[in-house]
Point group: C2
Chain length 321, copies 2
Amino acid sequence: MSGLRLGPGREFDRIRQIVQGLGTAARGIGDDCAVLPEVRGRVVVSVDLALEDVHFRREWLSMEEIGWRAAAGALSDLAAEGAEVLGLLASVGVPREAPEDDLVTLMKGMGRAVEAAGGAVLGGDLSSSAQWLIGVTVLGQAARPVTRGGAGPGDALWITGMLGGARAALQSWRRGEEPAPDARVAFAHPEPRIRAGQALARAGARAMIDLSDGLGGDAGHLAAASGVGLEIALDGLPVCPAVAEAAARTGLDPAHFAALGGEDYELLVALPSGFSPADAAALGREAGVTLTRIGSVREGSGARFTLQDREVGLAGFDHFA
Amino acid sequence: MSGLRLGPGREFDRIRQIVQGLGTAARGIGDDCAVLPEVRGRVVVSVDLALEDVHFRREWLSMEEIGWRAAAGALSDLAAEGAEVLGLLASVGVPREAPEDDLVTLMKGMGRAVEAAGGAVLGGDLSSSAQWLIGVTVLGQAARPVTRGGAGPGDALWITGMLGGARAALQSWRRGEEPAPDARVAFAHPEPRIRAGQALARAGARAMIDLSDGLGGDAGHLAAASGVGLEIALDGLPVCPAVAEAAARTGLDPAHFAALGGEDYELLVALPSGFSPADAAALGREAGVTLTRIGSVREGSGARFTLQDREVGLAGFDHFA
């Protein structure tokens, strides 16, 4: 970027290389702060950590995939507000022994993810560290941010895309095997549902959350924030094709297996009961993702899951476990 | 905070404890994103990493000081824009063996720093990690953000506060000694110059930067961004009292020692030549900090430093070194 004017130093040489690698995906880097454009509506912000050997392993993913996935996971929080993407800032800890190119490639992955979502890399911070660590800050704007707190009795619960792919990939890697292609893509290259989130907000979404902690955990958050109970029948849950084999190994029903997985980055949304299957099909075509009805909102508290009319427990995915 | 409504889970129990510990310093936590209030002017954003054994050591600082210092270092970037503070988001990696209280105490330190600066903790992300890591995202608003890029020939260079305290503290710790009290405070409890930054912006600041990389590095950034040369006489540099003894051990002049130190978080600012010593005294009283003239802006490039009329080289503080 021709506008980048920093003084001399190795740390700043790295920043120059990153900005060159980012090309059009970098904007306004090089001051103490990133200055956002004038916004319409409200600014929404979220932060997300991706740590080597906690959230990913080097042997599973390329550097570009590590960058894409870290950015996509954070961008998914903007999708859940129905927001438009402004951009991201990246805090990256780089192992001392890492080849110089790895950081540039990682940042290219982040740049591609944020550019695909309509934003740019706006700034960041670099440090040396024992292992790779990526802190992502995403910024968006929304005329009417959709919170987790607006669902009411009688609303219907819908979900974007398919679940369970990321969990199936993790299970394969942990057994020392290469995941099925669709499971690998779900983990390495998740698509933040930015367009779907905006379309759902326009369609009157009353509450929305992205599935980072798994359906069990995140449905619980939406229920708690809205002060309602949720009834979800897992029988109709859309699952990634690779899940069938992975679930068979655990002895679980595929839908149960998929519902236990974290980091699928699909959206769980409460819509007014008048939102019809035809509305869902039209919205799905517009946003490039399927939309499936999985349950309903009632008075009460907590999320209750059934499979073949029997209640099943879903403990949430715990990032401390 | 009574408004916090999350589902069950250990990770969310931690968030509940943090929010309770933060008290009035927490605002609006618990959705996918933090929603900023409607802003006047432009939103400015910066991110900063503080890593155990890179930026600090546990044996040097209390958990509350670690939190304060991480927040203050990031808030200092808002000061350098002349911005008003909206708040911060914290990404924290917590060692598995850490006592439960440590995270709450760390966050209290961050809460105190951001509350003292006029903002609140707006959100965050938690993970387990091998060592403590703190990623801070700060958000502010400014009618006219002051960049590094507006200095012109004839402007005068001023600096807030005193330099060298953080470096003197680091030197003592590395020798296995306890730092002098003023040096320790400079490192453990830096004051982000928020009020001074705003007052300097109102006084017509043409370019501003905070001294995180040291005077040598940061003056170079300001010169590069503004496309000018800087002339700085170190003789008049305001130094922390503890610096005299620390500098003597290295055989350097105290001003030279102080100019080589990083992370003092004071502001270097280019002001129009008409800004007088009386203006500086009045602004300093208003903002609670001294303001000292240390040089001038000329045509050319780079930053040139003199001491007793002889040129001295100042390599910047390198976070990768």
